[in-house]
């Protein structure tokens, strides 16, 4: 199989691969950002610890798959485990923070990050864990002449899009979803109409934790499962929900794909672009850094012109 995204010249094949990689990263981001934006939108609660839910999902998936010897059983068991884990965290920590200011929420959930990043190091060791790609999805799909794209990555893309569709249905077409949308627009009003907003929030929270865990399990076979793996993704997920508009699932979806594409294509093209101006080794380093910066530049630009994001939930 041809190595993808490693230097070389710019051509259509490379662009296609980068685009697919970007979309696939985008849907992973969306799964993490969806829970984050709902929790943020409904309860006005900043949860920095959402990234570690993703990490915990990856660890649960990898260890359960190793335990049962099957990727599918690992995935199936990891989902409820991630849900329960999220609810336990909610019960122990987050529940006591809803009526506190953002600053307290940022700090307490920062403490949760420190604890859990160290916790997985103690339980699973500091070395990265591997999760094998399931046999069914190993190998590649020929996209064009001489280009095999890994089936597993396509499966991630499909699963992510399917989850997004499911989420759209839940949020837009069910009663619970209607309450969630109403809560994101005006939570006190929803509570005044007799809806138990705390229970609604637990529902949203548990579901968000499970989505992040799902993203973690799916990413486990292609990324290394290691302590702190959620931190950078968390920051990107925050960028996504701020660009998309806080509380808006639709905004999160559009922004996640945008961020995924910008990040991945930037990473692929920037070093080549920089090579026009400097020698190869410094071009690689500068290009990679510029690519990492690109997302934040996009966000700063969008916030400068639309301070409430692209699709603000509170009009």
């Amino acid at each position: 199989m041809r190595r993808v995204g490693e230097g070389g010249f710019v051509n259509t094949t490379l662009l296609l691969v980068q685009g697919l990689n970007g979309l696939q990263f985008g849907v992973l981001l969306f799964l993490v950002a969806a829970g984050l934006t709902l929790v943020f939108g409904v309860m006005d609660f900043i949860n920095l610890a959402h990234g570690v839910q993703y990490m915990v999902g990856a660890y649960l998936g990898a260890s359960l798959a190793a335990l049962t010897g099957s990727f599918w059983l690992g995935l199936l068991l990891a989902l409820p485990a991630a849900l329960v884990f999220g609810l336990v965290l909610e019960f122990l920590v987050f529940r006591h923070l809803y009526d506190r200011d953002h600053l307290s929420q940022v700090l307490a959930t920062f403490g949760v990050i420190l604890f859990l990043n160290e916790g997985v190091k103690v339980v699973f060791g500091a070395a990265p864990m591997q999760m094998p790609v399931p046999d069914l999805l190993s190998g590649g799909v020929p996209l064009m002449d001489g280009l095999l794209y890994p089936t597993y990555r396509l499966a991630i893309l499909a699963a992510g899009l399917a989850t997004a569709a499911l989420l759209w249905f839940l949020v837009e077409r069910t009663r619970a979803g209607m309450l969630v949308r109403a809560g994101a627009t005006n939570a006190p009003m929803v509570a005044a109409l007799g809806v138990d907003i705390r229970r609604l929030f637990m529902l949203v929270f548990g579901f968000g934790a499970m989505l992040a865990g799902f993203a973690g399990v799916m990413a486990a076979p292609i990324l290394s499962v290691e302590p702190g793996m959620g931190d950078n993704l968390l920051i990107l997920a925050f960028v996504v929900i701020v660009i998309g508009g806080i509380g808006s699932v639709r905004g999160a979806f559009v922004a996640a794909l945008l961020v995924g594409l910008v990040e991945t294509i930037g990473r692929g093209l920037m070093p080549d672009l920089m090579r026009l101006f400097m020698d190869a080794s410094s071009a690689r380093q500068t290009g990679a850094a510029l690519a990492s910066m690109l997302v934040y530049i996009v966000m700063a630009a969008i916030l400068a012109f639309r301070p409430a994001g692209l699709f603000p939930a509170r009009a």
């Binding site: 940022v106 700090l107 604890f115 859990l116 160290e118 701020v242 850094a289 510029l290 301070p307 409430a308």
Partner: protein, 307 residues
Amino acid sequence: MSNPRLWLPLLVFAGLAAAPFLGLGQGHSLTLLARGMIFGLAAVSLMLLVGGAGLVSLGHAAMMGMGAYAVVVLDHAGMTEAWMVFPAGILAAALFALLTGAIAIRTSGVHFIMITLAFGQMAFFTTSSLALYGGDDGYTLFNRTEVFGARWLENRLVFHFVCLGLLVACWALVQVLLESRFGRVLRASRENETRARALGFSPYPYRLLAYVIAGAMGGLAGVLLANSAEFVAPAYLAWQRSGDLLFMVILGGLAGPHGALVGALAFVLVEEWLSHAMEHWRLVFGPLLILCVFFLRGGIVGLLRRG
């Protein structure tokens, strides 16, 4: 003298001044105290933003990074004179604060937290791309900043008192600023922006100036940090470091700059003690942080007032 705002910092400063003569003179403990004072300086400057202006910045580590990297750039060019290094570090951070603040202050609340984070990340990735200065691996300084060719700052005792002097100066500046008309406008805009506007004050220039002043002080802290470690790395600008700084401010309490001062010292000392006491110290530190948020609402100085 019932106001801890004044006697507490004076007590702390006296303690820090006496520390080298109380058996802490040699070795590691002075380095540790210097680190505490440097972070104290940065936390006091962040306090001006968080406590004074109500601007919760999650990108303050970038200000320290600007100062630290100014030292690196000059060091690489062979310039280590204090009269160049210190102003360069302060100016670099102030300029960065001015440019990013001009955009960031247009937003408020959560968006402000996120946009300062975004600028902090940009600075972080920029420094890790500087292949000339070590990139991700960081840069080891040839030597500490010199004062007219004399290597005074290499002496731990001298460095200790330089840090202490600058810390006292910055604390006093923030204290004076907060009590001044400028500080009252900042606080009024934080408490009720509509009323402040109705009184004829546009918060924007006040907030921007506060942001630039805090950034400049952060840059100063960065210059000191680079000198203290004789090493600078992009990790100085990581968002986790900004989180640490925020925690120092909150841990101490938002009642005034004395809170940030006490919070920073407590943070650095507890971190040091825990990391020596056990390998997985974050397992204790994380929950400690959560418990502080739950039960220490007024911060450490809030406890004093009650007691």
